[in-house]
Symmetry: C2
Subunit: 218 residues, 2 copies
DNA sequence: CACTGTGAATTGATTCACAGCT
DNA sequence: AGCTGTGAATCAATTCACAGTG
């Protein structure tokens, strides 16, 4: 009774690992464009990103043939193609749930670094935080999250709330029509028709201890 | 000319994905122990963690036969086995490099949540930050990092510095004998004999945009 | 009987190697 | 000549299915 992933387009089926690499290629291409470079080869992107050149070519080929054989990729053109694929032709709005240390850091970070994804809402349940502002965005109460997100039509959310609140927040995000979630709480979240990327910081930190031991394979 | 991973132990070769899940099992087992539960089945751990029960059994079996057929796992015993595997029998020291928003948030987070991994050093290059203290740890200047880490014998480090400084910091960590690194800078770091886990927050955030589009496979 | 432990099958992702263009 | 695009081969991780056992 497997929810048989429909073959919606004529293209192969795209590994999610490839999609996750696209923003990295985009970043380096924009870097290259803002320098002098007009043409970039997969070998050069490889040197810049640390991914192999075959992998880069294959990732790009899932979406079309953007390069010129014997030459390479037009940096500006490829950048705009990747933006189109990622749906980043216009800046996209996102919501941050949780204005604790982590939520604040992530919100500031993302406002500073990216034009492409804009944090348009920050929610917190602590009345002391509501009304204060983080990089120009006013913190709203979580109680109004559902209507606020519906009104603004935001489809991307980042969960940075404690374990105890993660599930209820997630349920509300689903009700609000959010389609993609980045979850930093240690609860593994999942739902049909919604993309969830879970990052469990405890897991990341503690698993390091294994590799810090003597005589272990790294 | 592949650096042929030596088969150091008699055991199969352990998928790194399995090692990364161990801390999650550990957390839930400790939760279970602090409740009333003495015995936990893979099915129950599955319900608690979101991983499948087969996966959990397989992960554990890489390290030994810890369960009782027909019964399940002794929660307390399994927790202590996992601690032993991860090298967390005594609390392990780590260093945070970078006391910006992200580094501070991560340091606070990890001090609050974990007994097992202790942030013992925080370094920053900004003289204004040096000397201040974050959850009881005094910020040291990056210029003294090498000697300080050598002196304390810390083998785990978290990089939370800007892109521009990441490579030099990494080189110094290697020189200081660090064996495992969690890297939040957007530079992909790697070196022989050292375990590096790269988390590129831009990549995580921007790739969400793809899945937020209409008509895309999620 | 109920659960673990595990080979075999499958799925997913990466790497290889080379044909195809420009 | 040089670099892309891509099937085939390999490698890694997950899932299946069931034998083994307290």
């Amino acid at each position: 009774m497997n929810s048989n992933r429909r073959e919606r387009s004529r293209r192969p089926r795209i590994p999610q690992a490839a999609i996750r690499r696209l923003p990295v290629y985009l970043r380096e291409l924009e870097e290259a464009v803002s320098g002098e470079e007009r043409v970039v080869s997969s070998a050069e992107l490889s040197a810049r990103t640390g991914f192999t050149s075959e992998q880069i070519r294959k990732d790009l080929a899932y979406f079309g043939a953007f390069g010129t054989r014997g030459v390479g990729y037009d940096a500006r053109l490829l950048a705009s193609q990747i933006k189109r694929i990622l749906g980043l032709t216009h800046s996209v709005g996102a919501a941050m749930i949780g204005a604790g240390h982590l939520g604040t850091a992530l919100a500031r970070f993302s406002q500073a670094e990216h034009k492409d994804i804009r944090i348009r809402h920050i929610f917190d349940k602590d009345p002391a935080k509501v009304g204060s502002s983080i990089n120009g965005v006013v913190v709203e109460p979580v109680s109004t999250m559902l209507e606020s997100l519906r009104a603004s039509g935001v489809r991307i959310a980042v969960i940075a709330v404690p374990e105890t609140d993660a599930r209820t927040v997630f349920a509300e995000l689903l009700a609000a029509g959010v389609m993609a979630v980045l979850n930093f709480s240690p609860v593994k979240l999942a739902a049909d028709g919604v993309h969830v990327q879970n990052i469990d910081l405890t897991m990341e930190l503690e698993s390091l201890a294994y590799y810090a031991q003597e005589g272990v394979d790294r």
